[in-house]
Symmetry: C2
Subunit: 400 residues, 2 copies
């Protein structure tokens, strides 16, 4: 959270999706300078799918654009060949240049759903790394100690678990920091898992005699399973390229525990509306969250449409999925069935007498119509639901 009140006010549109600002006074000073600030966000093209978790800092970036600041996207085309620990702390494979370009193109399409792409400054880090000599790399690697590197949580954890850390991964941190030097970043945006790398950028900028960037850190969003950080490879991610229908459906699957976090981070629902929503009917709340989440990426009309569609499909499906299918006995010569026979045949009564009592009591419905005449003969076309009371029901299926 942001502690400084003036800063909270200046960053009002972002305030709910910022976890930490390192350090707040420096950001306040930068904002008060009145300059258009250079806001860096690094794109890792080892993956091509952007999910709504990645979207959190990107929406913050969009809000900074709207406040008149400059979004500077770093395409890590050079860095992508290095590999980086993923959420699961595995070393990522190196990619071919072609795969990297394909991924970057996909990124750009998806970023267009969030950012004002016309005002974005796009930089490839190959621009400064391509011609860097070994001597310059050696200078870079002398900027940090092994001890400082090991302060990074993911390295520390892997060290503790005796999981291999490639020396190359240390260089990756330094490269990301060097990107900040190259673009003279004022702010770098990232999730909490990027905290260490963002401070490396600060350090390198200071060493170069530049005003250090401020780290604007957003919370991470758990995946729809509620267990792990959102990740496409774990199958718990809602991707920006997912259809509105899938997006809505995935959002509906999250647990109630995650609701406050999803409402706050994955939708544009305001703080006041959030209170009312979370206090109300849980199913309605989830529908509203899924609607707002879908609306964020596909517009309000699409969000509303998906909600209606979901409700319709969900209601229709509810019966069949919980219902036994029963093939009735052969009809009489007139093509009709005794209602008491159907009640017995479905196992809802053991005798004609019991069936009669149920029918006379008004507890039997066929195709949503109450049948209270126990001597009635009824017509079936197949697919009608026979209900007895609130619990017993069966779909009457007539073989062709």
């Amino acid at each position: 959270m942001i502690h400084n009140d003036v800063l909270r006010e200046k960053l009002a549109p972002l305030v709910r999706s910022v976890e930490t600002i390192v350090p707040e006074p420096e950001l306040l000073a930068k904002l008060e300078s009145g300059r258009s600030l250079r806001c860096k966000f690094g794109i890792d093209p080892t993956s091509s799918t952007v999910h709504i978790g990645n979207g959190i800092p990107l929406w913050n970036l969009r809000r900074l654009q709207d406040l008149g600041h400059t979004a500077v996207l770093i395409l890590g085309d050079y860095t992508a060949t290095v590999g980086d620990p993923s959420g699961k702390d595995k070393t990522r494979p190196m990619l071919t240049p072609e795969a990297i370009e394909a991924n970057l193109a996909t990124w750009m399409d998806q970023l267009g759903m969030i950012l004002d792409m016309e005002k974005v400054e796009i930089r490839r880090n190959s621009e400064w790394f391509r011609d860097m000599s070994f001597l310059e790399v050696l200078d870079l690697t002398n900027r940090m100690t092994v001890q400082q590197m090991m302060e990074r949580d993911s390295f520390e954890n892997r060290w503790a678990r005796h999981e291999p850390i490639s020396v190359r991964e240390f260089i990756y941190c330094l490269m990301q920091g060097w990107d900040s030097v190259q673009v003279r970043a004022d702010i770098e945006l990232g999730g909490t898992d990027q905290t260490f790398n963002l401070t490396v950028g600060r350090r390198l900028m200071e060493q170069e005699g530049l005003p250090p960037q401020v780290a604007l850190i957003s919370p991470l969003l758990e995946g729809t399973d509620g267990q792990e950080k959102m990740s496409k490879s774990l199958g718990n991610a809602i991707g920006l390229t997912d259809s509105p229908k899938d997006m809505f459906g995935m959002a509906m699957r999250i647990s109630d525990d995650l609701m406050p976090k999803y409402v706050r981070l994955a939708t544009d629902i305001s703080e006041e509306d959030e209170q009312a929503l979370l206090a109300g009917n849980p199913m309605d709340a989830k529908l509203s969250m899924a609607e707002a989440l879908t609306a964020r990426y596909h517009g309000q009309a699409e969000g509303t449409r998906q909600r209606e569609e979901f409700v319709r499909v969900f209601s229709r499906r509810e019966a069949p999925t919980e219902m036994e299918e029963v093939e009735p006995p052969a009809p009489g010569d007139d093509g009709l069935w005794w209602i008491v026979d159907l009640v017995k045949h479905c196992g809802f009564a053991k005798s004609t007498g019991e069936a009669r009592r149920l029918l006379e009591g008004g507890g039997v419905r066929l195709a949503d119509e109450v049948v209270s005449d126990w001597r009635a003969r009824v017509a079936l076309t197949g697919g009608e639901v026979l209900r007895v009371g609130r619990r017993k029901q069966a779909r009457l299926v007539i073989a062709p």
Copy 2:
């Protein structure tokens, strides 16, 4: 030590100055191939002085040359700019190219005292590192894990002591290993402090599909203080550029404990002669060791000359350095002194009677002449030594 008997025989001239061969069977196979083997030795031009400790692997290299193998010297002109932990585990400063060239020239002069320089293959590692791209560096840094790096003793110790380790130092290990790949080394020579780096070379060669080099590791020689590894900066080193006189004098200063190691590693005294020498008079043993050490670098004639000179100077100096200087009282009118007065004046007798008894006993010598007449008047020109018995002596100094 070398365990394999056949290998011991084949390497007879080196056997006393090898601590470990990693691994012995591979070296045996290489030797039995009958090929001229490529024997790598790395020159670190961050320092210009070569001392007799550095000389140990270099003499092994010379013996390999004499056995028909090829000495391949790697001039670490590129690596020198990286820095490396010294014996004291401090990060060395980077050097200017000019300083590196000056150091290398000095190295070459000194190597000429040991190697057959006409048959040496000299390679500069700038040859392969100068044009290495960042991507290639990244590939190199992916060859080892942080955990593997931390197995190096000096890193492990510094980690334990919370002393900073620059990320750059990891790269240095990899560069040294890459040198081995580039020159297709069969053997790399070094001291025990290089064991880790030599195995990095093995690893990288294997990764490149090359037959891995064998590490031929020599013991380290303690400095003349007997405390620390020999190092010019600690003032405990005998340098190859030191004059024969200084070399001999430094060698004479080592403690008796170090004698066996100096005889074995710093001289060409044979194993049989060593036994006799160490069993005899300690001072003679030390003179013989210092003579042989000096002879190794400056020839037998110079060694012998320094021994004679040292004995002469040492005997002459023994007296003055241990002696008090005393100014005698004024002489008589004849310019002479009563011998009894001089004995009393120097504090060797409390009364004329005591002085007389000492003189009559024959225990008083002036300028190495016994004076037994207690009534004698003696002449002094200044500088004469007055001795009483074996313990008491004083130099008589006459103020000008």
